[in-house]
Amino acid sequence: MQTTLDADTTPAPAHIANHPTHWRNRPFAAHFRTRDDDFDASKFGMWLFLTTEVLLFAGIFCAYAVFRMMYPEAWSNGSHHLNWIIGAINTVILLISSWTAASAVRCAQLNKQKWLKINLVITIICALLFVGIKFWFEYRVKLTVGKAPGTFFSYAFAENPYEVLWWSLYYMGTGLHALHVVIGASLLGWVLYRSWKYQAYGPTEYLMVENSALYWHIVDLIWIFLFPLLYLIH
């Protein structure tokens, strides 16, 4: 699959190549013995942060599990208000974006600057698609008929008195997840900007790409669990 974009053999123009932010010119933190130590420590730090993100959503999953056990009928009714096709489309979009994010890391490792930017752009487009579909086809439709969380709930045709719990958890889970999608897309947008402006990432300096991609994968992981739990109940 050799294309003209594959091998990035053109050297960067002088004003970029000589800029201190260019990946060849950036030093690693002085308190580390080697560049690899800097990379490994920072990546481990990112993993520790990701574990806190997992625990954040674990709280919501715990509430979900408790209330699903206690009020299975309300959960079944609530799930029937959701369209699994839209959820599946969003799942596919996020999986593809996860692939392009991992691909972007690989491109940075191999100094494929153009493909790095292309992959980042596709990932961000997928993020915008995800949030757009969620807000336009799901939230807008539901909120206008009153299927809202907590005391905002005003849908007159709910069939189970505990259905408001379902809606609260639905909005809490998917809303917090959508917020993380936006945060992840912003991080990747920052990476894209610096890549475009300074060629800031390359084989010896791609930590920011790696960490942003890791955050993005956690966002995808959360959705992999949210989708069947919310959309595919009986």
Binding site: R35, K43, F44, W47, L50, T51, V54, L55, A58, G59, C62, V66, M70, H80, H81, L82, N83, I86, A88, T91, V92, L95, S98, W99, A101, A102, S103, R106, Q109, L110, F137, E138, V141, T144, V145, G146, T151, S154, A156, F157, A158, E159, N160, P161, Y162, V164, P203, Y206, A213, L214, H217, D220, L221, I224, F225, F227, P228, L232, I233, H234
Partner: protein, 254 residues
């Protein structure tokens, strides 16, 4: 994917393993396949329940969905996030986190299940709202009432029943209320439709047809054999005027 193993580490960016594009694309395809599988499992479950008229136990759905989700998560973690090629410390961090999540969920469940060990009356005492104060609880001190959410007196009703009552008042009559609902959601009789407007409005199309296991003798002419219009449609059109306050939901939901 086995013939791509030799290209897994095609280059080393200063000691860091580079995952080949074949592996990444392969993992994506497998993930998409498992997404298809989980949707298929859900639809198959629905089909099995309706075709064989059995009720599957609740855990079938959860176990099926969660096992497929776990496989997908493993693939994302190992290949996209690079744990397969990484230092073991990163994997340990994630596994320890999952252990903590297990503790969190497990101990919560144990707590819920054993509340009657000390006080019998505390078992099953989680009420909607959960904090001991409902929408009608009188305020202890106005300085604590800073919730931004709307609060109102539901006269002891659950919020769902309260909103239904409000909807009934806004629609004017029960007929108008249920017409508005069944116009877009005629799948089954609503749980609160105690006066059976579902049948009154003619949405009750279920006809007992004979099948291999039971015969239903039918006499008389086929309904509508000599009519020019569908008699059930003609019946519905008289009750179809939408006088309800609630805006109708479009087809994006069920």
């Amino acid at each position: 994917m086995t013939n791509h193993d030799t290209t897994t580490h095609e280059e080393h960016a200063h000691g860091h393993p580079v995952v080949s594009w074949q592996v990444q694309l392969g993992v994506l395809l497998v993930l998409l396949f498992f997404t298809f599988t989980t949707v298929l499992f859900y639809n198959a479950e629905s089909w099995v329940e309706s075709a064989f008229e059995i009720h599957l136990p609740w855990w079938v759905n959860v176990v099926g969905a969660m096992s497929i989700a776990t496989v997908k998560a493993l693939l994302v973690c190992m290949f996209f996030m690079g744990l397969r090629y990484d230092k073991a410390l990163n994997s340990f961090a994630l596994l320890f986190c999952l252990f903590c999540v297990g503790l969190f969920l497990g101990i919560t469940m144990i707590d819920l299940d054993t509340r009657d060990r000390v006080y019998e009356w505390k078992k099953d005492s989680v009420a909607v709202g959960g904090t001991g104060s409902g929408l009608d609880t009188p305020s202890i001190d106005a300085r604590f009432d800073s919730s931004p959410a709307p609060s109102f007196n539901t006269a002891g009703l659950s919020i769902v029943d309260f909103r239904r009552q409000q909807g009934l008042e806004d629609a004017g009559s029960e007929l108008a209320f249920w017409t508005a609902h069944y116009h877009h959601h005629a799948e089954h009789q609503h749980a609160a439709d105690v006066n059976n407007f579902f049948a009154q409005l003619g949405y009750d199309h279920h006809v007992d047809l004979p099948d291999a296991n039971h015969a239903v003798p039918r006499t008389g002419l086929t309904a509508g054999l000599f009519s020019a219009v569908d008699p059930s449609e003609a019946h519905n059109s008289h009750a179809a005027e939408d006088a309800a306050h609630q805006p109708a939901e479009n087809n994006a939901g069920h």
